[in-house]
Symmetry: C2
Subunit: 602 residues, 2 copies
Amino acid sequence: MSSEKFIVTTGPLPASRKMHVAGNLFPDIRVAMREIDLEPSSGEPPVRVYDTSGPYSDPAASIDISRGLPALRRSWIEARGDVEAYDGREIKPEDDGLKSDEQRKVAMFDRSNIRPLRGKPGTAVTQLAYARAGIVTPEMEYIAVRENLGRERLKEAAARDGESFGAAIPDYVTPEFVREEVARGRAIIPANINHPEIEPMIIGRNFLVKINANIGNSAVSSSVAEEVDKMVWSIRWGADTVMDLSTGRNIHTTREWILRNSPVPIGTVPIYQALEKVGGKAEDLTWEIYRDTLIEQAEQGVDYFTIHAGVRLPYIPLTAKRVTGIVSRGGSILAKWCLAHHKENFLYTHFEEICEIMKAYDVSFSLGDGLRPGSIADANDAAQFAELETLGELTQIAWKHDVQVMIEGPGHVPMHKIKANMDKQLAVCGEAPFYTLGPLTTDIAPGYDHITSGIGAAMIGWFGTAMLCYVTPKEHLGLPDRDDVKVGVVTYKIAAHAADLAKGHPAAQVRDDALSRARFEFRWRDQFNLSLDPETAEQYHDQTLPAEGAKLAHFCSMCGPKFCSMKISQEVRDYAKSGMAQMSQNFRDQGGEIFVPDTAAE
Amino acid sequence: MSSEKFIVTTGPLPASRKMHVAGNLFPDIRVAMREIDLEPSSGEPPVRVYDTSGPYSDPAASIDISRGLPALRRSWIEARGDVEAYDGREIKPEDDGLKSDEQRKVAMFDRSNIRPLRGKPGTAVTQLAYARAGIVTPEMEYIAVRENLGRERLKEAAARDGESFGAAIPDYVTPEFVREEVARGRAIIPANINHPEIEPMIIGRNFLVKINANIGNSAVSSSVAEEVDKMVWSIRWGADTVMDLSTGRNIHTTREWILRNSPVPIGTVPIYQALEKVGGKAEDLTWEIYRDTLIEQAEQGVDYFTIHAGVRLPYIPLTAKRVTGIVSRGGSILAKWCLAHHKENFLYTHFEEICEIMKAYDVSFSLGDGLRPGSIADANDAAQFAELETLGELTQIAWKHDVQVMIEGPGHVPMHKIKANMDKQLAVCGEAPFYTLGPLTTDIAPGYDHITSGIGAAMIGWFGTAMLCYVTPKEHLGLPDRDDVKVGVVTYKIAAHAADLAKGHPAAQVRDDALSRARFEFRWRDQFNLSLDPETAEQYHDQTLPAEGAKLAHFCSMCGPKFCSMKISQEVRDYAKSGMAQMSQNFRDQGGEIFVPDTAAE
């Protein structure tokens, strides 16, 4: 057996200090965020930013991948007194795609000190159940502190001028507000009781827009170590959740390494592993194999499952005339099963049994958009919306079982058709959070689909989508590597933040303003350090002006010293300081008219 | 003197054939476009695309930078009988930033066979004047054929379902429609009579959305050869116009090399060169120096001038409290001049004299947004809109002189404030075309501002903006190199095309559909060749699957052979071909209800 050498990126981002803010209701909680220190000459305080990078960017933390992260939430879960430890399901060779007598070629994470938990019989141990019972959990307070960036409530709310299309974003997030939003299903806290390592986060329209990064191997590419590295790398740049979409070898083992080392919620698509267990033959899938896979993954700690229960038999003919058919892996797999058996989708027919499993571990549904459009031509068609109607129906069933739900969305959608997606989802899915893949606003640019989709993602985030699933430059072409992961994450941070700004989120513009002030005052390092990717910004600047002194220069190579508008702007201000008062007086003396005839000779 | 070695990229794009379509009214015109050939197995015709790359991508053309491009329009211009050749202004050392006795270190383009033209006294030789006189020029027919991609009028118009916010995009563009749009000022044809080399194009809301690439040196960076190469490189990837924003050495000589070799309109900002002539001291600018610079550049053939005549003295105090002041080079230069002299902007006071010059050469105005917002905080403020009101006033004056006008726009604008910009510009500027820089939808991502602005550009293009000025990854950080130019151009082609799709432009979706069919049928090379950047798409694919056989594979490394949704989708269709008929019958037999109880036992 080869021992995987795990190499992950650690250390703080430039000028950043990890900090932790305590709770009030729960004084022991320590909410992670970071502060970016600015140059003393600026006279400005550090800028706090939301931070998904976990202990990896904390110099005070000691990282040992083989031991995993601290089980942050263990005491909170146990204090609720509604779970029991048990022996768990035995790991089978086929869980890693091995034949019965085949040896694993990769090391497994050492679980000798871990036993899975599940809810005591008859209980639903979900954040939704607690919220409906009026309970504010430590997770909820953690989230409130996190979403506020640790700010104290301001005496006066800052002026807000966004357009949120009817959302209800508060000036200040209280734990009670978090509870309310979860109770009404408008937000979810993905937090499997078997994933105690996570720093809690919330997905909902009235909170900061979140992003997801997809990782995972395929039969053709990648390894366990690469996938763990991608997870750590993706959260360093801002991924709020990560989906492990592995379809190749060692699915179980890879996932365990990721879960034990991930401070963010992890999502999966269980049908992939189920398909691997039947050797890739969709027709051979059974409810029993799938059910067993759900329990296997829930015991490990997966926080949300993408489940394509809306790919219903009668809808499949609606895809017959599509340009790109069914582009969802899970959707196509289930469509094949349905047609092979001439039966209704077993995920649909066994949906309540799935709910019974998920409520015992607090796994959230991500109701899959198996019939999403994979081309501009197919956008907003009958197949897509028929499935959405079913997802709305299934949302009500899940809520009946106190299982948390979010709804997945498209896809490929031209700009003028995007809002209809949001409006329809709000109407039919009871305001459950929307979680879209882009959408891509044109098909013509493989190699640049992070951009074609970043446009649609920003827009649909503005309209109310709660989480945006990223797309990398490799979309349609191959498995993303770590460079692609970074570009995808930064692009989607842009889309999410642009949406927060447009919605008028009270915390959003602080960073833009701080960076713009740094830019205007030629505090180059502050500008870089406040940006989403300080190293790239600095590297680009240094390509033409590498000398250290250039960091003090009041210009860059775009315009040079004589033409820098910001430099000249400063001179205009200095010049006008004395002159402005006189000009104002002149202006008033001339009657304060905007249009003043030029009486002076040239 | 060093002889610049000019190296530019020539040769066709993959699978592309340059073609030329003749006119009807003017049978001698040969409208350039290209066709992308698809694999014979597809059974599909070649796909025609709009092509800005000029003769450089035509294997039949012989390229000699030292001789320039053929003077395509010379005979059309002469046939109008309203221009005269003359000796032109003498080139002075200061035109290239040289002292009187200093030698040029770069070679000049050989103009020994070229004499500048100008309109005969009392004439306006502009496309606007001709349009208003009811004349359809060869340029107008060229444009009609080009915008239609050479299609014959279809017997029935294709179904169109865009949202164009009140635009009037025709199913088929006639030369008469072009004339009408130009006559009412809603579109411009930038085409200086001294730039006969251009392949005519149109900028207007009711035509394809266009993009501009900025090139030009600075005092810190670049050379004549690099700038000529950037121009050729930018149009290869799709730039519809190019602005030479040089601010360093050899401004005149660089521009001449670019103009003589550019098949697309060239824009400049004359105040830059004027500032160079006074050694960089804004206070020393005079109307006489500026006027002389306008004539110098008009004689060379510049097709549009950015002129910041809206930066009025009373508006400057409105920028005092801005976060990023005045971010326009020209705007800051003029603001400094105004305050230094305590006088109104001489571009404003001499505006009609500027019109007299421009009408004699058919140089179009790009009325500059000198007071555009350079940060989210400054978006849509009083300074910005005061200037826009003045630009509206100046538009009417220019039209009085038969001078073509487009209006420049922002900048940095959060998404929810973008539409207001379009609405206001339409209201106050008489529907003159809008030409925006982005806008950037957040400030927090230097290094990625092609993306932050691509989002805003796609949206404002959808709302009616006629041309989008690109932004590269180097924005705010340094002068773009050729790699940045390409990324900027491709990003803005995405934005413009996404806008065309959303507006329901009849020609737009052809390419998306052809590419998506190629994708679905695993015609990998067709997918690459139809994309905006075939080489990058292929390179990304080949990173993980380089073998030639992989180009026939029904999967890529994203999912591998067992999980490719498109492959499985094809299997579903094959499987269903026989089954579908039966299913349809079953469906109908059961009353055709969407919700069918599952009566079959599991």
